[in-house]
Every structure is written in C-alpha cells, then in structure tokens.
C-alpha cells in the first residue's frame, strides 16, 4: 500500500532535512504494510519474494508467535538496493513512522557509501526474484523434495565463503589451480659416447627415474593449489554436481556474499542510522506532543539489558564520541600521550572536524576496524563494557574482566569472521582417494562437534565422497571424517 497523504508530507520533510545534513542515499521507497505482511517480509530477510524454502516459513512462525505474545516488534526493515525499499507498519503511531523514516535514510546512506557494500548487487530485489524463479523451475523439473534436500545441504555450508575475495582484482571466480601445461620431464643423464650410452644410461633405469619424478610432480599438483576459503566456489567447480545443483550452489553463494557486509558492519550500520534518527527527530521532526512517546521508544531501542551487548547503543555512542573528539581535537600523538587525566578530559582545541570525521568513518570502516581504531579506555568505562566467560567450576557465566585491553581483544575476537570458525579446503584428493579435506584455522576456540557432524554430513552429500576436517580439540590435533553414514575421529600422531 502506498503512503497516506500525511506520511507523504513527513517523508518529504525528513528527506529534505537529511539531504541538508549531508546524507547521500539511494532513493527510498516506503511501503505501508500490516503486521502480518511485515512479518512475512522479515521472514524473507527483507525481500518481497525468495525461493521456496521451509526455513522462511519457520522464521515466519517464530516472528508471528513472538509478535502475538508481544515479545517483539519489528521496527525497521530496509533493503540494500537502488532504490532502497523500506517498510512501515500501518498500525504504528506517527512518531514511530517518523523515527523509522529517519533511521532508514541513515541506513540507505550507509549502504550507498560504505566501501564494504561497494561490491553488492544494487538490483538485489530483482535478482532474488530471479533466484526464486530458477529454484521453482528446478523444483518443477526435478521434484520439490529432491531440490529442497539439496538446498538444505548447501545452506548448511552457506557461511563458508571468503570475505576477502570481494576485494580481489580477479573477479573471475576462479579457484587457484596448478598450471595445466608443464614442461616435459627431463631425466638426468650421464654424459657418454653414443655407443656407450645404453650401458651408462640403461633405458630401464631412465624409465624408473622418469616415473619417480612424475610421481613427485603428481604429489605437488594438488587441487586447490593454495587453501581455498570460498568452499562454495570450490564445490561449484570440483564437486560432481549436475547443472541444476551447480545453479543452486551459485544462488546460495551469491546471496551469502550479498548479506556478508551487513554482518561485517552491524554495529556501525545501526549506530549510524541511530545517530541520524536521534539527530533528525530531536532537531527537527519531533512534535512537542510526541516527546514522551519518543523518549520511551529510544529507551527501548538503546536499552542495555543487564549483561547484553546492544549494537545500536554502542554504535551510536561511538559515533557521537568520535564526533566529540574530532570537534575538540582529541586525537593524534599529543592527546594520546597526555597523562594528565584532568587535562585529557577537558582537552579542546576547537578543531571542529567532528562531522567531517564521522562521514569519513562511515565510508571507510567496518566493525572490526571501527572498534580497533576508535575504542578508547574512557569510552569503555563510560559504556560499562566487560568481558564475560563461562566458569567451569561454578558452572555459570561470570564477568571476568573490565580491563580495556581485555575488552577490546574479546570484542575484536568475537567479531572476526562474524564469530564463525574460519575454514579452508586444502585437498580434494585426500589420501589419493578423491576425498575432501578441510582445515579449521583454529584460533583458540574449538568447533561444536554436534554441529560439525551434521554439517559434515551435508557436505558429504554434496561432495559424494568421504569428507574430513582437520582441527584441534582441547589442544589435541584431530581429523574428523564423515563418509555418509559414520562420523569418526582420528587422532593425528
């Protein structure tokens, strides 16, 4: 449904104000939906249509249920697309609608300008619809169950992509391969007169030597040549897949890459949008009669339930902190080296570069670099950040540290690769039996073996030969293998 006249008026006002503040967004199309439709769109990850799959239905049931019990309410939903599409819930009050519109303009600006979104498909709504059509066609041809089972298996691997690939110059989606053409093998000969040659260099010995060299070369000729982190791409190229199966892997991989930057910039993206909605609302769009309602909404969005980490809150506060610091010149060696607490707190050079700085930050950073660069001990203290850990002895989760270094290390650690294990394909002819070997890049955290087993089972369905993963459990080197029926552990000596 299109906007009501009153909403249209407010949309135009907020849009004009945002532009005046320097925001540079894709045009935003707002749609007015009932709560049921909002839940539907949310279950589809924001899109009006997706390929048929039960997990969207499951998500919808969860959302509807938690909505019905009043546990949760979806506030804003906006798609990274040109034009951006955002949804307003028709039963919301005017103050909610204004807030959401202001927030959405912030997101759209972020999508358009942040470099980590640079590679994303800006016609994703169309692409998603095309994906849906392709999957439906496969289902019509090969049967719903068959296609669905395969989708289930591949979805289980959807996070196995390479976040760095999007910055490669080579966009050809190739896997690193050893060179096809190699020089013919030259077997070393001992120099001899022609008539003596058969005796000095007996042909049988030469042949033996040639075979030995060939074996050695074969050993070196591995696929992939280097460990490949884009496991889905590797499967497209090397797994024994039918055309429709390749197509499914391709679809899921493309969607994974599309959603990737939203995971890499969760704190920044929400912080940026919140920064702008608070600014636009309080400076401009808020009616005096709405102040209390607005304050209540904000309290909800930025609340810190004891012990939890709220990306909206931390992101917003960090952007404000950066603006304040650059306005007052609180950066650079002189400020960093200042040890006088008083002087540091009241430091003000009247630099006035705050606004400029935050726009630069929203362009060039992702969550990891954002926190790495701008998190200060003062900020940590103010925001009451702490590290928590599970205590084996007391069997409960406890606050383990409030030191700045520890908090920062933990925060960066848990954001690395979206908090997920880093896994590469290292061999496709493991044990010379055409079996697949993965390697878990162990960075201090063990894999959950229950999940690993189920995931390996799904990988095996795609690879069709036994699959293995090399990892460490409790500091001990292990290989776990799945051959389609059994999951077994091998101790690496």
């Amino acid at each position: 449904m299109s906007l009501t006249p009153e909403l249209t008026v407010w949309r135009d006002k907020i849009r004009a104000y945002a532009v005046g503040q320097g925001l540079d967004f894709f045009e935003v199309v707002f749609e007015l939906l009932s709560w049921e439709q909002i839940n539907e769109v949310a279950a589809f990850g924001g899109f009006p249509s997706r390929y048929p799959h039960w997990r969207f239905g499951m998500e919808f049931e969860h959302l509807s249920k938690s909505h019905a019990y009043g546990l949760s309410k979806i506030y804003e939903l906006v798609i990274n697309n040109d034009p951006s599409v955002a949804y307003l819930q028709e039963s919301n009050e005017m103050v909610d609608q204004k807030l959401v519109m202001a927030h959405v303009y912030g997101h759209s600006d972020f999508f358009k300008n942040n470099i980590f979104f640079g590679h994303t498909n800006r016609k994703m709504i169309d692409t998603m619809a095309a994906h849906a059509a392709r999957v439906r066609r496969h289902m019509d041809r090969f049967g719903q169950e068959k296609v669905e089972d395969f989708i289930d298996a591949v979805l289980s691997l959807e996070n196995l992509i390479d976040p760095n690939r999007v910055f490669l110059d080579d966009k050809s989606n190739r896997v690193a391969l050893p060179p096809e053409e190699e020089e013919p093998i030259q077997v070393g000969r001992i120099r001899a007169k022609e008539y003596l040659d058969p005796f000095v260099n007996p042909p049988s010995v030469l042949e033996e030597e040639r075979q030995r060299l060939e074996r050695e070369r074969e050993e070196r000729r591995r696929i992939p040549e280097r460990p490949e982190r884009d496991v889905l791409l590797f499967l497209i190229h090397f797994a024994p897949l039918e055309r429709w199966q390749q197509d499914i892997v391709d679809i899921i991989r493309e969607e994974s890459y599309y959603f990737l930057p939203q995971m890499q910039t969760k704190i920044m993206n929400e912080g940026w949008a919140s920064y702008w909605h608070t600014k636009i609302m309080t400076e401009f769009a808020l009616d005096a009669s709405e102040v209390l309602d607005y304050a209540e909404k904000c309290a909800g969005v930025f609340s810190m339930p004891p012990g939890n980490f709220n990306p909206y809150k931390v992101g917003l506060e960090l952007f404000r902190d950066i603006e304040r610091r650059w306005d007052r010149g609180q950066f650079g060696p002189a400020w960093q080296e200042c040890e006088d607490y008083e002087a540091k707190a009241n430091w003000d050079l009247g630099t006035g570069k705050g606004k400029e700085k935050i726009f630069e930050v929203r362009r060039l950073y992702n969550d990891i670099t954002f926190l790495d660069t701008f998190l200060t001990p003062e900020f940590c203290n103010q925001q009451q950040l702490f590290v928590h850990r599970y205590n084996e002895r007391t069997r409960r989760r406890e606050i383990s540290d409030r030191e700045f270094d520890m908090v920062k290390a933990q925060l960066l650690g848990s954001l690395t690769n979206g908090g997920q294990p880093i896994i590469h394909v290292v061999e496709s002819n493991y044990e010379n039996r055409g079996e697949l070997l993965l390697e878990h890049d162990h960075q201090g955290l063990d894999l959950d073996l229950g999940y690993a087993r189920a995931t390996m089972g799904n990988l095996q369905k795609v690879w069709r030969r036994p699959v293995h993963i090399h990892t460490y459990v409790d500091g001990k080197e292990r290989i776990y293998s799945h051959d389609g029926s059994d999951f077994k552990e091998t101790v690496v000596a």
Partner: protein, 368 residues
C-alpha cells in the same frame, strides 16, 4: 489477502508433522506428552529442525557485555550465536519443541494407524441451533459496532456531500452512519458422543497399569474428539463395587480388595438408560482391567449384561486387558469365546507400554 509465505509455512508444518510421524511409535507410548497439553495445543519435543553450520562450542571463549557488576558476578549474557548443546555432546540430538493442535495430532494418529473415519449413526443426530453474529443492523450497543461498515458509510456520505478532502482525510461518522453486528440463528445437525471409561482399581492394578490406561485413553480421546463435535467423558472405577468419579480420581485412585466387574457394567447400564438417549448419542464404553474377576458366576453376569443392555446401545464395546503380575487374564479369554463373531465387541491385550500402539489400532480401527 493470502501471504506469499503461506507455501513455505505449509512446508514447514509438513516437515514438523513428518518428524512427529517418524517418532510416532515412541510418542504414543510416552506419557509426557499428555502433561504438555494446554487446551487444544500440545507441545511435542522433536529432534531439531535446523540447518547445521560449523560453529564454535557454546561455553568456549567469552563475550562482551554492558552494565553494572563486579568481576566474578554472574551474568545472564547471551554469547554471540547462542546455541544449544555442548561440545562433545551426543551430536545431532538437540531437541526442539513444536506446538501442534489436537486436531493435527488426531490427523497424524489417523494417518499413521490408518484409522478409518467414523460415520456417525444416521439417526443419532440432533438439531443444534447456535447464534452467530452474521447480521447487521442500525442500532445496537457500542461494543458490537462494525467499525469498517460504519466508516465506509461515513466516507460515502462525506464524498457525496463534498466534505471529504483526500489531503486531510478525516472521516467523522454521525448517528446515521452507525452499523452494528446482529445475531442470527443457524441450525445444523450435530452428532454427539459419550465415552465411558471404566477401570478396575483393585489391588492387582499397579501404577504401571494405570499409566498405560491413562496414555491409551489420551489417544482415544484425541481421536474421538476429532471425529465428533461434542464429546462427553465419564469415568467409573470399580473393585468389588463401582462408583462414578472425576477424571483426576480415576487416574489416581488406588483401592484394594476383590474385583466384581459386573458392578461396573451395572452402573454403566444405569447411567446410559437414565442419561443418554440412544437415538441421540454415539456411545463408546471402554473397560480396562487386568482380567481377574471374582469367579465365573460374575463373568456370566457380565456377559448377560453386555448382551442384553450394553451392546445394543453402544457403537462398540471395548475391553482392554492390561497385563499385571497378579492378574490371571481369564476375563479376556471368556469375552473372546463369548463374542467371537460379534464385531461390536473389541478386545485387546496390552502387555506393556509398547503394546499401546497396536491396542489403539485395534480399538479404533473398525470405524464404528
């Protein structure tokens, strides 16, 4: 408006049903499901429906939280990607609760056990009248105001009068615009059924036997409720004497002493003649015992009561014999030899919980 997601949702429900079916034999013999019943909804634990991913173990590493508290204080912080289970746990055994309605459950029961639908006896129907708010009128209490119609009329009136401005869409209904819901009566034929559970509570029936009766009666209820719109359930317990009790007492009472089954049948006969008109009710007596009766004289009396008074009025008469270490099981043999050819008497022997599945199929498989 039909939601596009409906297809995915249906598919999800199907998968859930599939999971329930896969484990249905286990569910049937488990009593715990009965405890999870809340009105018309039952929650059933099924193996997780989830897309597994490579992930880190749950209690490993830490997370960052915000808020008050000293080092060492407990926190309820959720870890990023909070999940279930522990590293090294039996893999793939995470449980997940789904809610299904009793109707869906009955449907699954029907499909799994291949139960035929029951054709209610033609004459055993009565006209039932019910009031539904399907009409509209111009007066009524505010609580029954039909807002949509009211505002539509107001909008029509304002457009006709030229007082409607699309840029400032204010619609103010006046007295004449008001519309209210009104009741109208509709009648429909209705089939009624009554289930009478009888149970032997003499000393030889132990807790395990009663648990079997409880589980079995849950499934019978579920099925018959699905088949009939209205169901009444009555409970009779007996040892040497019979009396009617409520549901709770029925399942928890423990008596000692001898067994005279005829006492229960006499009471049943009395209830049926006094309270249930054969022409209006579908009648389902179920009797559970360990098969130990007080002498053959009483058994003969039982058979006579059944032949003369009970079977003619019942849709079918069911006897379930729960094996107990003390019971002789003689009663089942006696009934089987007397009613060999009578399709209206259904008997079943239930050795243990695993026998419940077959027993339900026997009782409900005839479609009477």
């Amino acid at each position: 408006m039909v939601l596009r997601i409906e297809r995915d949702r249906q598919r999800f429900r199907e998968i859930v049903k599939g999971k329930i079916k896969q484990n249905f034999r286990d569910f049937i013999s488990q009593g715990e499901m009965i405890g999870r019943q809340d009105g018309k909804i039952v929650s059933i634990p099924i193996p997780q429906i989830d897309l597994p991913r490579f992930r880190h173990g749950k209690n490993q590493g830490g997370g960052v939280g915000q808020g008050d508290g000293e080092v060492g204080d407990e926190t309820n912080a959720g870890q990023p990607g909070d999940g279930h289970g522990h590293a090294g746990d039996a893999p793939g055994q995470h449980m997940f609760e789904v809610e299904v309605t009793l109707d869906e459950l009955a449907q699954i029961l029907g499909e799994e056990l291949e139960l035929p639908n029951i054709e209610p006896k033609g004459e055993k129907q009565i006209q039932d009248s019910s009031d539904r708010y399907t009409g509209i009128r111009t007066t009524g209490p505010e609580s029954l105001r039909h807002s949509k119609r009211t505002y539509k009329r107001a909008l029509k009136r304002q457009i006709a009068a030229g007082t409607y401005d699309p840029r400032d869409p204010r619609i103010i209904p006046i007295r004449d615009d008001m519309r209210y819901r009104a009741r109208s009566e509709s009648t429909s034929p209705r089939a009624n059924a009554v289930i009478i559970y009888m149970m032997d509570v003499s000393g030889s029936m132990g807790d395990e036997q009663k648990e079997i009766v409880r589980i079995e009666s849950f499934w019978i209820d579920t099925w018959l409720r699905n088949q009939y719109k209205e169901i009444e359930i009555r409970y009779i317990v007996h040892d040497a004497a019979a009396r009617e009790v409520d549901r709770h007492t029925f399942y928890h009472l423990r008596e000692s002493g001898g067994t005279k089954i005829s006492s229960a049948y006499q009471l049943l006969s009395k209830i049926l003649t006094e309270e249930y008109d054969v022409n209006e009710w579908n009648i389902y007596p179920f009797h559970f015992s360990d098969g130990d009766n007080w002498g053959s004289g009483d058994t003969e009396l039982c058979v006579r009561l059944m032949e003369e008074q009970l079977i003619p009025v019942s849709n079918q008469f069911c006897y379930g014999q729960v094996e107990s270490p003390y019971g002789s099981g003689q009663f089942l043999k006696d009934l089987r030899s007397h009613f060999k050819d009578d399709g209206r008497v259904v008997t079943s022997n239930i050795p243990d919980k695993n026998g419940i599945y077959e027993s339900i199929r026997t009782f409900l498989g005839k479609g009477n």
